[in-house]
């Protein structure tokens, strides 16, 4: 079986491609780093990781501008990294330290910083969708020209809030892109066991909005589709449902070994590793030399070393901080 070539985008410069690759690399290495910290017992809590889905987060976020907002899920690490939140503040948050993006009180499932363009993640499946439509309504009302990229998984498309949130964005032409990372499993349930339509994007028709399915492991394909959806949203023409077909290499969470998937299936997708594929593309297209790739990997590792040191050495919240940052 041949692996499809990267759908080379017509509009990208060499610098943009380098930036996409570095972002993919940073997402992957960030997740790996977190995983090993967890194995070493240095980082608390179970975690939901997205190794294998990098091209979705990076492709979508690469199109966003200042003032645009991302909404996220229980699997938010890469959305935050790709949106450009400081890796220091993310690592510190995962270590539950005061220097974290939520002052150490959010943790893995609530990463985010509205000032940096990401609403703290909502871990309830489908819970971010109505909020995305609400943010879209605010942007439209205030005529800011901004858009919302609303990330959710395949499982969320069978949640009631999906219907309500997408429908209201559709009828009011709200500037939202519904970015569905279809990694084929809602926890351990295969999407085809719970959904009759072959493509989740077919559901867009029910709301009278465009629905697109792209290779979610091809960062340029994702970026092109997102560019079109974002332009539509900024032009006041309403939302788009963007389905990105991808795969998570890990289980649903650390305590899920993923035995419900065959080794062949996992292997099929590992051969379509979005980071490896883009590295090969960049080398073949002479976007990067082998030396530049190595340098970039070293700089990413350095950035993460620093982030881990920063996070681990930062202070923990104190008892007197408990009433800060709360409404009631």
């Amino acid at each position: 079986m041949t692996i499809p070539a990267i759908a080379k985008s017509s509009q990208l410069t060499k610098e943009q491609r380098k930036s996409l690759f570095r972002s993919l690399l940073l997402c992957r290495r960030f997740e790996e780093r977190v995983y090993y910290l967890f194995l070493e017992g240095r980082m608390p809590g179970t975690i939901h990781q997205a190794m294998g889905q990098e091209a979705c987060a990076v492709g979508v976020c690469s199109v966003l501008r200042q003032g645009d907002v991302v909404t996220s899920t229980h699997r938010p690490h890469q959305h935050a990294v790709a949106r450009g939140l400081s890796v220091n503040s993310l690592m510190a948050e995962l270590f539950a330290k005061t220097t974290g993006c939520c002052h150490g009180k959010g943790g893995s499932m609530h990463l985010g910083s509205l000032a940096d363009g990401m609403l703290p993640a909502v871990a309830i499946v489908g819970g971010g969708i109505p909020l995305a439509s609400g943010l879209g309504l605010a942007f439209k009302y205030r005529k800011t020209g901004n858009i919302v990229a609303c990330f959710f998984g395949d499982g969320a498309t069978n949640i009631g809030s999906f219907h309500e949130g997408v429908n209201i964005a559709a009828i009011w032409d709200l500037p939202v892109v519904f970015a569905c990372e279809n990694n084929r499993y809602g926890a351990s349930t295969a999407i085809e066991k719970v959904t009759r339509v072959p493509h989740l994007s077919d559901r867009a028709a029910a709301y009278g909005i465009p629905g697109v399915t792209v290779d979610g492991n091809d960062v340029e394909a994702v970026r092109d589709a997102m560019t079109e959806a974002a332009e539509r949203a900024r032009a006041g023409k309403g939302p788009t449902f963007l389905e990105m077909e991808t795969y998570r290499f890990s289980g649903h969470s650390r305590s899920d070994p993923g035995h419900y998937r065959s080794k062949e299936e996992v292997q099929f997708w590992k051969e379509r590793d979005p980071v490896q594929r883009y590295e090969e593309f960049c080398l073949a297209e002479t976007v990067l030399s082998a030396k530049e790739v190595e340098d970039m990997k070293a700089s990413v590792e350095k950035e993460l070393d620093d982030a881990v040191a920063f996070g681990e050495s930062s202070p923990s919240p104190q008892a007197e901080d408990v009433l800060n940052d709360v409404y009631a």
Binding site: G41, G45, S253, R254, S255, P257
Partner: protein
């Protein structure tokens, strides 16, 4: 450099896991991200990976042991023969690695057509049980851990011994439960010898007429107890957190032995059922695949050791319940009636009750009603 591989905190409902199998042996090279041992919890089987490149030097646990999350399970070093310290030595006393214990190969599941939860597979493997010979009680024949336990009970009598390396979590759970019960609940006990003459005759007749639906003494006791509970609403009151709550349904919980401990199986209020439907409800409640009543909130537990010839005993009230009825063996004994010696069938039944809820009079009334209902079958 020394790296201590820990058992990760797997979250969910447990903070410990059983070390199922070593996938590497001391001296083996290990890579970052490579699985080195297989563990299982109540919910999952999984593999633990090394976070470091290097050489596995020593196991700090053994196969079959239960390890706590975050405890070190193995030593990995960067080079194959460097000196290293064991945890707890403060790094001051470098030691040579101990000689290897033989490790095992990665287990390959023989999953052909058999549907079983991971814990059941592990248990079956440990005890050398063929899963294909076990009927699963779960959905679509899914084999559960309880099914495997039940099958071991059948083939190995109930005199099983505890062996080193056995999983003692079920026993420890029982220990915690009964300790809490004895600590929290001020028990008192009342015993009567009920006459079983009528009930025994009634049962013989029923069994003659219903060869396919036999009744046991236990069935008669359970139904009579439920009817008695209905007659004694004061006993059907729960207590917790300083609050009392009156229950109306005469729900019962049945104490059933299940190696190595026991189970409490709920039976929804059977008082209004015909005897035939009651027997069916009993079979359903105690069947392995029993769709246990989820709405039942039993406050009375019934335990029966009569089948082992136990004459009389007192039961511990399960937490959340108000009383427990302990039923002994039905036995013959002589009785003087109107100056004449008669043969009588009797059974000693003992009610343990929570004195925060009821007093001796309520217990006595209940036992009096037991005799009434056994005589009114």
């Amino acid at each position: 450099m020394r790296h201590l591989i820990i058992l990760p905190d797997l979250g969910q409902t447990t903070n410990e896991a059983k070390i199922r199998q070593f996938l590497k042996k001391p001296g083996d090279a290990v890579k970052r991200g490579e699985p080195i041992l297989a563990v299982s919890t109540d919910k999952v089987e999984m593999e633990v990976e090394s976070f470091a490149n290097g050489y596995l030097r020593q196991w700090l646990t053994e196969e079959g042991a239960v390890a706590s999350a975050m405890s070190p399970v193995a030593v990995v070093t960067d080079t194959p023969d460097e000196l290293y310290a064991l945890p707890g030595n403060n790094g001051n006393e470098p030691q040579r690695a101990v000689e290897a214990t033989p490790g095992g190969a990665i287990p390959k599941g023989d999953r052909g057509g058999i549907v079983a939860v991971p814990a059941a597979r592990v248990l079956a493997k440990e005890r050398g049980i063929d899963l294909s010979k076990i009927a699963g009680s779960g959905p679509e024949g899914l084999i559960t851990k309880a099914d495997v336990l039940r099958s071991t009970e059948k083939c190995s009598e109930a005199t099983s011994q505890l062996k080193p390396g056995d999983d003692h979590r079920a026993l420890a759970a029982m220990a915690a439960t009964v300790s809490a019960s004895k600590r929290e609940i001020p028990h008192f006990y009342a015993t009567v010898d009920v006459s079983m003459n009528h009930a025994a005759a009634w049962r013989s007749q029923w069994n003659r007429e219903h060869p396919d639906l036999h009744a046991t003494y236990n069935d008669l006791f359970v139904l009579s107890a439920a009817r008695s509970l209905k007659d004694c609403p004061r006993l059907n009151v729960s207590y917790g957190g300083g609050k009392y709550e009156q229950h109306t349904a005469a729900d019962i919980s049945l104490v059933v032995a299940q190696e190595p401990t026991m189970l409490l199986l709920p039976l929804a209020d059977p008082v209004d059922l015909t005897f035939e439907l009651f027997l069916q409800a009993m079979r359903k409640a105690t069947h392995p695949a029993g769709a246990n009543s989820t709405t039942a909130k039993p406050l009375l537990a019934i335990s029966n050791l009569g089948m082992f010839g136990v004459k009389q005993f007192a039961a511990i009230i399960p937490p959340g319940s108000t009383s427990a009825l302990a039923i002994g063996a039905v036995r013959e004994q002589p009785r003087l009636k109107n100056g004449k010696l008669e043969n009588e069938l009797v059974c000693s039944v003992t009610l343990s009750a929570d004195h925060r809820v009821v007093d001796g009079v309520a217990a006595a009334r209940f036992l009096e009603r037991m005799q009434f209902h056994l005589n009114s079958l």
